[in-house]
Amino acid sequence: MYAQLKNVRISVLDHISKKDIEDCNLVIKGNKNYYYLIQKEILVQLDTGKYSIVLSQINYKPSLQKIQITKDTTIAILLESISKELLEIEIKDSSIHETAKFSSDASIITTKYIKKIPNLVGEADIYKFVQQLPGVAITGEGSGSLHVRGGEANENLILLDDSPIYEPNHILGLVSVFDADYIADAHLLKNGVATRYGGRLSSVLKFNSKTAHFLKPNFNVGIGVLSSKFYTNIPIIKNKLAITLNVRKSNIEYILGLARPHLKDLKENNLDFYDFNTKISFQQGKWNSFLSMYIGKDALFINKQINLTWGNTNFNFKTIYKNKNFQYGFQVGFSQFQFNLDVSDKDKNFFWKCAIADIHAKTFSIFKIWNNSMEIGLDYSFKNINPTQYEPLDKTSIFKPLNLPTYKTIELSPYFDYNYNFGKKLGLNVGLRVPNFFQVGSYTRYIYKNEKELTQPEIVDTINYATNQLFNHKIRLEPRINVTYKLAENITLNSSYNRNYQFINQIITGVTPLPISFWMPSIDYFEPAMIDKFSSGIMYQINESVFLNMDLFYNYKSDILDFVDNADLFLNKNYLTQIRKGTGRSYGMELSIAKNIGRFTGSLAYTLSSSTRQTEDVNQNRTYYANSDRRNILNVWLSYRLSPKFTLGLSFNYATGRPITLPSGVYQFQDYTVNLVSDRNGYRMPDFHHLDLNLTYKPVWKRHPNIKSTWNLNIYNVYNRKNAFLVYSKSTFDGNNEQSFGIENTNQIFMLYLFSILPSIRYTLEF
């Protein structure tokens, strides 16, 4: 799986002008087939041996070349353009344009692919597309949550160039922090995950930034409803050093400024975000390295009284050495997420801060021995978690300061991965990861008389740990196995088993995921959460352009945390007493079909699944549906190239309404009309569906052929479906004056929806 590899740089040029050609579909055929969508050039890593390279592009004749790889190689392939008449004919050849690949192992998405289909408010967002992949559910429209095969949002290891990102969303989930102009592709690994990744239960979601171009500078400017962007790649030293820079700033502040005189309800409310990415790439002989930085911030201001800010900061360095039979890599980085809430409501004023900082390092070596390959490595992570720092802003505040203890933890995880091919049909991958968890002092552990006492927990003892003292050592074994069998030339079977542990948990204070949450490790009364994941799938290549994939999965989780009903979480220094351990089960079937060649391309993804929980003291200890349980999910994307300048895109999304807790009755207590609450998640929201359209126009700049521009017109929710974001009960005071008490109240169910029909436009200029 991780054999020693040769660097093969492939560039594609026009046979007359010798200019770079974009949007080329590349298939490299050897013992295995590799599929890429390349921009100008691509760096791939191949074993030594013979390969067939198939290249195609909508405006050029397909090309087939045979090559033999014995060392690092640079290949320039010239494509011959075809006449305008031929453009109208659907191109068919043996190459497969797989720009979106779905399987039980991994789903791989390129940003070029998602730019062809409709997007919310015209913002091409690869993370949003991942939310629509088979086996993935979200909790609501516009939500930034990602629930993979019944998992929770915090159970995904989200990586940007292999450095963790703790909060992947801007503006409460409307867009992600992964700007499509900076990101090349995303890999969602659901099962059969290599042992180099660990620490989370559900999935690994990798975002890779674009490979630096060491020869030519490149600039990209874009403006849309939501944000304005600037991207550039500048070679500093030819073939050695290049710098990439990407800046994105929201336009919401400007739009709200325009709207404020017309909409008095806006008052002083404001919303803003920005991203800043930079990456310095350098290559020298057999060494490839980069140094990257990401800073992103959000700010939400409400009535000059509530001020929420949150954001990620990441620094990352990675270097890789490769020779014939050996590869060595080293990575070190820093990741931080911080959330601040500032409330200046007279005597109820306070400042609330929570943060998680992570210093991580990884070293690995990959060896190739005949048909086998082996990877060994060591993963290190030091986390400093500040769950809550809470201070009144001034003396008039009725609140007391509260500082929960800071948690410091170390995870040290050696691992190995072994890959063996039995002939050409059977492949076996086995691995073991051994996470070691330590807590680091100073720390004071409270021993409760009854750790499940909700109202008046009594601390009977304390245990103090000295500064830098290592304690609470936990060691776990994570075996992983993945078997593939090629039943026929076009049919591949796959089965895998993974066991994963997770040592940190995200405490979410509401059922709707918002950044108002904090992290805590599995300590004191809690063991690390564990998952056993089983999956089997079949991949069937129906013809040269159409793939069918079906997977079955079953997951069992233990020691996952949830809150008791009506938990008292607000500024509760004994919040641990409100948390209970539980188990979870999820199972289902995923089906996908994709066609990625020709003028008409598209994909369909369907998921049938169930996800349940059972938690002590929740729902009277009975099983209940997980928040992310959605029985049926159907996502369809279609793209049709009307002409070389115009492309029409369509997407349709359907999902069963998510579970929700609502009252099944009412009763009178004193002067209150009180809801008689149903089972936890005993109801479902209305089904969720919407249809979106997209038209892309790429005009030709005859006088400036190096300049390329794109107009992108989106219509989100074409038939104006009111999809529920929240459904909730509320007592309404007679006379339409909403109150929440009193015997004269009436009871109603309300629905909050976010988006009606939503047109948007974006313009991008590249040179």
């Binding site: 739009i255 017309h262 009284q305 007279k346 005597d347 009725i398 609140f399 007391k400 509260l402 109202t455 204070t509 509401g510 059922v511 709707t512 918002l514 009903d565 009506n566 509760n572 929740v618 729902n619 929700i660 807790t661 609502l662 009252p663 099944s664 009755g665 009412v666 009763y667 009178q668 207590f669 004193q670 002067d671 209150y672 009309t673 009180v674 008689l676 609450v677 936890r680 009111k722 929240l726 459904v727 909730y728 009960s729 509320k730 005071f733 006379g735 004056n737 929440s740 008490f741 009193g742 009436t746 009871n747 109603q748 169910i749 309300f750 929806y753 976010l754 988006f755 029909i757 047109p759």
Partner: protein
């Protein structure tokens, strides 16, 4: 041009509408017992009702044929309460006054089903009201000032319609424009000493009801009576949950809702509360 941009780009977001309730499942009727015994006899009563569907058309059903017995198990005395009206049961014995640290038991029989509960009467809340003044002159926002708060045993008080009763000029201060709102405080934990208790005048509540969370609303020169109930931790948790439920707005920021934990057995809803009450009178200036 700006208007065109605005029309093109402005988001149509965050809309709310009420939806059909027909999809809600029908719940089984459950007995609700609201029992309070205190040293202020006027407050003593047991109200028995039944839950109903989540539907504005269904009225709360009063239970008028129940058997209600209150026992002081420490002193081994008991009393059978009599139905007065609308499911309200009261004792004829004026000397059946709770005392701190004594155990009380409630026995209720409705339609052949028996519901019981035991609880201990906590000590009386010990603090004095000494001042009432306007804190923010610019908005004429009066507030009460408490001092000498004694947290020796009773850390739990509840300020709300009943357990923090307030009267203005002899009437319970509760109407469409002049109302109270329940608050639960555990003063030694999250909050400073309760040296302020916010009281909002009617005008402020009407003007700013969307932005504030007022515990009460009064007219100037009102004579205000405040009753502070000392309650058990179980009662505190019950009222706290009750407040979460009645203020629940869909879970955007709230944890999942559940029914308050009753101290009554056999599936009854409600609470059996035995407590001592401290009463104050003040004037709103």
């Amino acid at each position: 041009m700006k208007k065109i941009i605005l029309l093109l780009f402005i988001f149509q977001i965050s809309c709310v509408e009420n939806i059909s309730q027909q999809t809600l499942q029908q719940s089984v009727k459950r007995v609700v017992i609201d029992a309070v015994f205190s040293d202020l006899v006027d407050f003593n009563r047991v109200i028995i009702t039944q839950s109903t569907q989540f539907d504005t058309q269904n009225k709360i059903e009063k239970v008028e044929n129940g058997l209600v017995i209150i026992k002081n198990t420490t002193q081994n005395i008991s009393d059978t309460l009599l139905h007065t009206k609308d499911g309200i049961y009261k004792s004829n014995k004026t000397n059946f006054v709770p005392k701190s640290n004594q155990i009380y038991e409630l026995i209720v029989e409705v339609n052949g089903q028996k519901y019981t509960s035991k609880t201990k009467c906590p000590a009386k809340v010990g603090f004095e009201l000494i001042d009432l003044r306007s804190k923010f002159k610019e908005i004429a926002r009066p507030f009460a000032n408490y001092a000498q708060f004694n947290f020796s045993e009773n850390r739990y008080i509840y300020s709300g319609d009943s357990l923090f009763e307030v009267e203005a000029n002899g009437r319970i201060n509760r109407s469409e424009n002049n109302y109270l709102r329940g608050e639960v405080y555990r003063f030694d934990d999250k909050y400073k000493n309760p040296n302020i208790f916010l009281i909002f005048d009617t005008q402020r509540v009407v003007n700013e009801v969307n932005n504030i969370n007022p515990p009460g609303a009064f007219l100037r020169n009102d004579e205000v009576s405040i009753y502070i109930f000392g309650i058990t931790p179980e009662s505190y948790k019950f009222y706290q949950t009750l407040r979460q439920l009645t203020n629940y707005e869909g879970g955007l920021f709230s944890p999942s809702q559940g029914n308050p934990i009753s101290n009554l057995d056999n599936g009854a809803l409600g609470l059996f509360d035995v407590c001592l009450i401290k009463k104050f009178k003040i004037f709103v200036k």
